[in-house]
């Protein structure tokens, strides 16, 4: 092994030496081409000498090296490749360029990381910096499955079963037991204001599934879909710090959006006030207000014209609530169609 090492190292000198000489030779040939033939000859003499030496070395090497040792040969080729005098410079350059690019992009990554870090220094994790885009709450309904058109046939459970499943799933978080366990029963009719540090965990008020009575799915596990009296839950979008103005709770009212007012003859709201109680406000944000449960208003469409699409618009009513933005059909209102077939 020692011998191998030596023999490997030995040509390193002549290699470089030869390379230098070659170089010089070339230069000489360029500049002194027709001047001194003697000098040229002399150099020609030097070079073969070196080549001979090198050949000997190579012979030695191949003799001393048993043929089957593949990894060693591979390494040799690799090293020769890396030290190939003709390619050395270009390789080194490529390497350098790669390194520079790596360095450059690493620096850029560092810069952007730093910027992001600084950005987060300015942002509170509890309270959005700006809330003007969601000043007034949007409205959403459940069950929701890709579409706001409720088409189902009372006599074909397959057509409404997914609504029931969706509602059941949604209401799991509202189960009385869960609510009682996690959340406090806070006094109704007033804001549930929790002073104290921003980073303190906040308590959440209970909103029990049972508040929804006939639409809770407890008594009627089909939420009225089986009888053609579907329950639809209405949820107001959460907004950090939102308080219905002047202590008036936000009410919900639904009616036919376009067409005959009498298409919907009666709607039952649960809770009966058809409003979102003040105790569920304000919302303190996801981080501290972990168990916050969005209040719901259930609309029980007990008597709706069958076998025709009825467009329904449910609006929030209350001070400071905006429900007539033309461009946004979901701020303060929600529009959906009921098409109940019997």
């Amino acid at each position: 092994m020692r011998r191998q090492l030596r023999s490997r190292r030995a040509p390193a000198f002549p290699y470089g030496y030869r390379y230098r000489l070659d170089d010089q030779d070339e230069v000489n040939q360029n500049y002194l081409a027709d001047e001194e033939e003697e000098a040229e000859e002399a150099q020609v003499l030097v070079v073969p000498d070196l080549e001979e030496e090198e050949e000997k070395e190579e012979e030695e090497r191949s003799q001393g090296q048993p043929i089957g040792n593949a990894w060693w040969q591979k390494l040799q080729i690799m090293i020769e490749y890396l030290w190939d005098p003709e390619r050395r410079i270009s390789l080194a350059q490529t390497g350098l360029i790669l390194f520079i690019y790596f360095f450059f992009y690493a620096s850029l990554a560092a810069v952007i990381t730093l910027c992001m870090y600084m950005l987060f220094l300015t942002i509170s994790p509890y309270m959005p910096t700006f809330t003007e885009r969601v000043k007034t709450p949007g409205v959403m309904i459940r069950p929701f499955a890709h579409s706001l058109n409720f088409n189902f046939n009372v006599s074909e459970p397959d057509t409404w079963q997914h609504y029931v499943i969706s509602l059941n799933g949604f209401l799991q978080g509202y189960n009385d037991s869960l609510q009682e366990e996690m959340n406090v029963d806070c006094p109704p009719g007033q804001y549930f204001i929790q002073d104290g540090n921003e980073d303190e965990d906040k308590k959440a008020c209970q909103f029990k599934r049972s508040f929804l009575k006939n639409c809770s799915g407890l008594e009627d596990p089909t939420f009225g879909y089986a009888t053609g009296q579907p329950c639809i839950l209405l949820k107001m979008n959460r907004i950090v710090g939102f308080r219905p103005e002047l202590g008036d709770p936000v009410k919900v009212s639904c009616k036919v959006q376009r067409g005959d007012e009498d298409d919907i003859r009666s709607i039952n709201y649960y809770p009966e006030s058809a409003s979102f109680d003040l105790r569920y406000y304000p919302y303190y944000g996801k981080l501290t207000h972990v168990n916050y449960t969005s209040p719901l208003v259930a609309m029980h469409f007990t008597d709706v014209v069958k076998n025709q699409a009825v467009p329904v618009q449910c609006q929030l009513k209350g001070k400071g609530i905006i429900n007539d933005v033309i461009s946004d059909h979901f701020v303060g209102r929600v529009i959906f169609t009921l098409n109940i077939e019997t």
Partner: protein, 1033 residues
């Protein structure tokens, strides 16, 4: 002479043949051309069958239905005018306007944008089939893209049309008039209203207004140089002297000049049917080369379009394989294409070029073809005509020899500084001979015009002598009046002298004075005495030797030498009433007194030597191509520096070392004088060798065809060749050259039509200005393109991130268009006003194939360095907006699908708040605006760093180019208007951005600036290093 004329014909025809060989790629187009050409050739042949010169006056009258005395009637003339059209050369056939316009519509990036637009509509079509209420967004986008293409197309078309109009108005600037006999009246009418059969009168100084058959002539001589390139005056008379219409004396050709005398003739051909008209239209068949800048822009368009299409398709495939719908993928594709294509750039380039064209027009370079603005900058060889371009195109007295001494005369444009000794008595005699033995006269009515600018009737040498003596002696006409001429023998080629006999000034003195001038050796033969210091001495051997030395010396300078002698006739033999008879020569014409020699040359323009030196230091080879004699050519070449003082030709070396020319090592000579005769026997390889090996070349005695061969030889060396010329015979070479430069004053219309550029002052020095401007514009275009390309990455990244990471779209396609066609336009034009970084006239011309406008360094540095930094900066603004509104960057990942679902109206943000679709959409638009502002702010930094490529901005001066600041202001103002003014227009998807967001990207902008300064610092510090090689664009 007549043979020469014939040669011109073969020239034009051969000229087209030559191009045929080089342009073989274009087969189909070529065949058409060929057809046209052979057709033209046919016509030309028929023209050669012209027999008007053989007809008698009566036959002519009959043939053209005219009357030699009364001329045509006005009615008849109007009839002919309606039949034949006006007597003007029709400009070369132009591509129909609609084709030009359509070319603009599909050229460059337009095709990509069209594809984008069509894809938009297809996408809408698919959407519509699936869902009848599909949003019209993609239709609008398609319409906007189409509008962009159409508007930029219209703009480019307008720009081009405008620059063509400059030319059109230019040719209208020089109205020509003709004196014509109609309705038995002499009338002056515009030459273009001449018709066949008109009887016109021409006189010395006039341009012949059409091809005419002379009916009578009094000493008429014409200069056929615009036809043949030879400016030797040729006599014209009414006699039929040769079968060939081109050689006979009784036909005058359109656009040639009548030098002296008067003549009357009948118009036999007008407009395009004239001989010149035919040659001109033939020349227009020579295909002109594509301009270097057009090649460069094409190259650039290919690069960008290649990137756009490949990135687009790559991400289309990625999107499809990421299970995006094909429809969405198409929309991504459109976004990527729009982001990649610098929509405004080509319009910007056009504006930049036309700005430079305007600037050049102010400096007397009128650019016909906008792209030619840059061509001059990449020119590496100028093949310059001698006469008129390098020289003043007039004869002027250069040297005098009297009293055994050579004196130098001032040959500058105004000649006011005549510093030679005028006290000698010999000069008094000589000056008298010069003034008297001269038939040239000033045209009357020019009292207030400086002498040099006065129009003279007479040939070039006589004009020179007249002006020379007018400058020195004062009113020559007055002197001639005092010395009344009693007899005269005009110059003719057999006796080679001119003689006149005058009364003397002194009324008491009844001597007659015989003055004579002519070829020096002939004059000397007739002399027996010589005047030295005012004293007449016998002409001894030593004097004769002195004469010969002087004659040889002046002749060796390439000057035209004239000898002067005089004789006072004895009063007794020749009394006052003596009847001198020039035909009988009843007076002595020998044993005169030799007074002196005078040599004339067409002097170089005073600005030329300096300009040639500048060209040389700018690495441009100046080759002189002239029809003149080699000795004259070489002398002029030496005096203007085309052959520099230190270089020698092979012949010079041979003479210096007293060895045979063959023995000289050709490598020792830097200069070469090649005559047309030598050129004729040369193989193209030999010509290539000469062009490659000698840095200073003069081609003398060349025919116009050879001029074309020389141009092609230069082009074989990958050189960008500029050719100057003025005659019709030059037009093929002008056309063939990469940039043909015609002379505005001396140039013929055919030359101007064939040229890309017109020098309004005929001054070679203007070319240097043009070169400088051309180089500057190339550098500045580089900067403009670098500036424009940079933001492409910042525009592209949002789409790529959007597809891969699923962020809400950071910037909309329409918003991108507002950057490309809004905020970025004025700044990129402003870069055209940037001053040169270093002395651009001290570097070599760029290599046509190696120094590209957009090289990989530029692309890499713009795309992967600055572009990426910009993208990061813009993303920072975008993230800031979203984070401060509630969506932290982490929450944005993969939010795309839920974000864009219209029915989903309670998407939760990082704070647990729920957003309706419209609220999200509004936030998205705010994000667009933020991203837009981020790019805009960093483009300001980009604009500043692009001011220089090597120097520090502080070396260049931050405030020197005021237009840059106008550009920056425009960027900011447009952005402010878009955000705050149009923030409420939802279709544009801009929103009012909080003021603080405008400043988020500023640190990044500063970072870009600093980074670029560091780059430039290393480039300056380590020239030639790999950094320099890779980072300098």
């Amino acid at each position: 002479m007549s043979r020469k004329t014939l040669e011109i014909y073969s020239v034009e025809l051969d000229g087209t043949k030559d191009t045929k060989q080089t342009d073989q790629e274009d087969d189909k187009k070529y065949n058409d051309l060929d057809l046209k050409k052979s057709h033209q050739k046919e016509e030309l042949k028929r023209e050669l069958d012209l027999d008007d010169h053989k007809l008698t006056s009566e036959e002519l009258e009959q043939k053209y239905g005219t009357n030699i005395i009364t001329g045509l009637s006005s009615a008849r003339a109007a009839e002919h005018l309606a039949r034949d059209g006006p007597n003007t050369l029709s400009p070369p056939k132009q591509t129909p306007e609609i084709i030009k316009f359509l070319k603009q519509m599909v050229g460059g990036f337009s095709i990509l944008l069209w594809i984008g637009a069509v894809l938009c509509w297809i996408a809408y079509g698919i959407q519509y089939v699936n869902d009848k209420s599909a949003s019209l967004d993609s239709v609008y986008l398609g319409v906007v893209l189409a509008l962009v293409v159409i508007l930029t197309g219209i703009f480019a078309y307008y720009q081009e049309a405008k620059s063509t109009n400059i030319m059109a108005s230019f040719s209208k600037m020089i109205p020509q008039e003709a004196l014509v006999i109609r309705d038995s009246e002499k009338k002056v009418i515009p030459a273009e209203q001449l018709v066949v059969g008109d009887i016109v009168e021409i006189k010395g100084g006039d341009q012949i207004p059409a091809d005419i058959r002379l009916l009578s002539s009094q000493g008429c001589k014409v200069d056929n140089s615009s036809l043949t390139g030879e400016s030797e005056p040729q006599p014209r008379s009414a006699e039929f002297t040769h079968e060939n219409p081109l050689e006979t004396k009784n036909i005058g050709f359109y656009s040639t000049t009548c030098l002296e005398g008067t003549a009357t003739g009948v118009v036999i051909n007008t407009g395009d049917r004239t001989v010149i008209g035919r040659i001109a239209s033939l020349a227009s068949g020579v295909g002109s080369e594509k301009t270097p800048i057009a090649t460069e822009i094409e190259h650039f368009v290919h690069i960008v379009a290649g990137v756009a299409v490949s990135v687009g398709l790559l991400f289309f495939i990625i999107a499809v394989s990421l299970k995006y719908q094909v429809l969405d993928s198409i929309i991504f594709l459109i976004g990527i294409i729009v982001a990649n294509v610098p929509e405004g750039l080509l319009a910007t380039v056009t504006v930049t070029l036309s700005l430079t064209a305007k600037r050049m027009a102010k400096k007397n370079c009128l650019v016909k073809n906008l792209e030619a603005v840059e061509t001059l900058g990449s020119t590496s060889i100028i093949c310059s005509d001698k006469t008129g371009t390098l020289t003043q195109n007039r004869m002027a007295v250069a040297h005098l020899w009297f009293d055994n001494q050579i004196f130098m005369a001032d040959t500058s444009e105004n000649q006011l500084n005549q510093a030679f000794d005028q006290s000698s008595g010999t000069w008094a005699s000589l000056s008298k001979i010069i003034a008297l033995c001269n038939r040239a006269e000033f045209r009357p009515g020019q009292e207030n015009i400086p002498i040099m600018k006065k129009v003279v009737v007479g040939d070039a040498s006589e004009t020179a002598l007249l002006k020379f003596s007018e400058v020195i002696l004062g009113d020559v006409m007055e002197i001639r009046k005092r010395n009344r001429k009693v007899a005269e023998i005009p110059f003719n080629s057999t006796n080679k002298f001119q003689l006149s006999i005058h009364e003397t000034e002194d009324p008491e003195d009844k001597h007659f004075l015989v003055v004579m001038k002519g070829a020096p050796e002939r004059i000397l033969e007739r002399c027996s005495t010589i005047m030295i210091n005012g004293q007449e001495q016998p002409l001894g051997k030593s004097n004769a030797t002195a004469f010969h030395t002087a004659y040889m010396e002046l002749g060796g300078l390439g000057e035209r030498v004239l000898g002067f002698c005089h004789l006072y006739l004895p009063e007794d033999e020749f009394p006052e009433s003596y009847p001198f008879d020039v035909d009988a020569m009843n007076f002595p014409t020998s044993n005169l007194c030799f007074v002196g020699l005078l040599s004339m040359i067409d002097p170089p323009r005073s600005t030329v030597p300096d300009a040639v030196a500048k060209c040389r230091s700018a690495g441009i080879k100046v080759i002189m191509v002239t029809g003149d004699h080699p000795i004259t050519a070489k002398a002029v070449a030496k005096s203007v520096g085309v052959i520099s003082a230190s270089s020698e030709t092979v012949e010079d070396i041979a003479r210096r070392c007293s060895i045979a020319v063959e023995q000289v090592n050709k490598r020792d000579a830097r200069a070469a004088v090649v005559t047309g005769m030598e050129l004729k026997d040369m193989a193209p390889e030999q010509l290539d060798e000469i062009l490659a090996n000698y840095s200073e070349i003069v081609f003398a005695r060349t025919s116009p065809q050879q001029k074309l061969i020389i141009v092609e030889g230069c082009q074989r060396q990958d050189a960008v060749v500029a050719v100057t010329g003025d005659g019709v015979n030059d037009s093929p070479a002008l056309k063939k050259a990469d940039i043909g430069i015609a002379m505005g004053i001396a140039g013929s219309d055919a030359a101007k039509n064939a040229a890309d550029m017109v020098l309004l002052d005929d001054n070679f020095a203007s070319i240097v200005t043009g070169v400088e401007e051309g180089r500057l514009i190339f550098d500045n275009l580089k900067k403009t393109i670098a500036y424009t390309l940079t933001k492409n990455i910042a525009e592209l990244c949002p789409f790529l991130i959007y597809i891969i990471v699923g962020l809400p779209l950071p910037i909309g396609t329409i918003t991108l268009l507002f950057i490309d066609l809004g905020t970025d336009i004025i700044p990129s034009i402003a870069l055209a006003y940037e001053k040169a970084e270093s002395d651009i006239m001290n570097r070599k011309p760029r290599h046509k194939k190696k120094d590209r406008l957009v090289n990989h360094q530029l692309a890499i540095y713009s795309y992967l360095h600055i572009g990426l930094m910009q993208a990061l900066g813009a993303f920072l603004v975008y993230f800031t907006v979203y984070a401060q509104q509630g969506f932290w960057p982490t929450s944005l990942i993969n939010l795309r699908v839920r974000w864009e679902k219209d029915e989903l109206n309670d998407v939760e943000d990082s704070y647990g708040q729920e957003w309706t679709r419209y609220q999200r959409k509004y936030l998205e638009w705010t994000g667009y605006t933020a991203f837009f502002v981020g790019i805009m702010v960093q483009q300001i930094a980009d604009l500043i760093i692009r001011k220089t490529r090597r120097n520090s901005i502080f070396q260049q001066g931050l405030f020197r180019n005021k237009v840059i600041w106008v550009g920056i202001a425009s960027q900011i103002i447009i952005a402010l208007i878009l955000s705050y003014g149009l923030g409420s227009v939802t279709a544009l998807s801009f929103t009012m951005l909080r003021p603080q967001y405008w400043f988020v990207a500023i640190p990044h902008a500063i970072l870009i600036w600093v980074y670029d300064e560091v780059r430039k610092l290393f480039i300056r510090r380590y020239p030639g290093s790999w950094w320099d090689k890779n980072m300098y664009y």
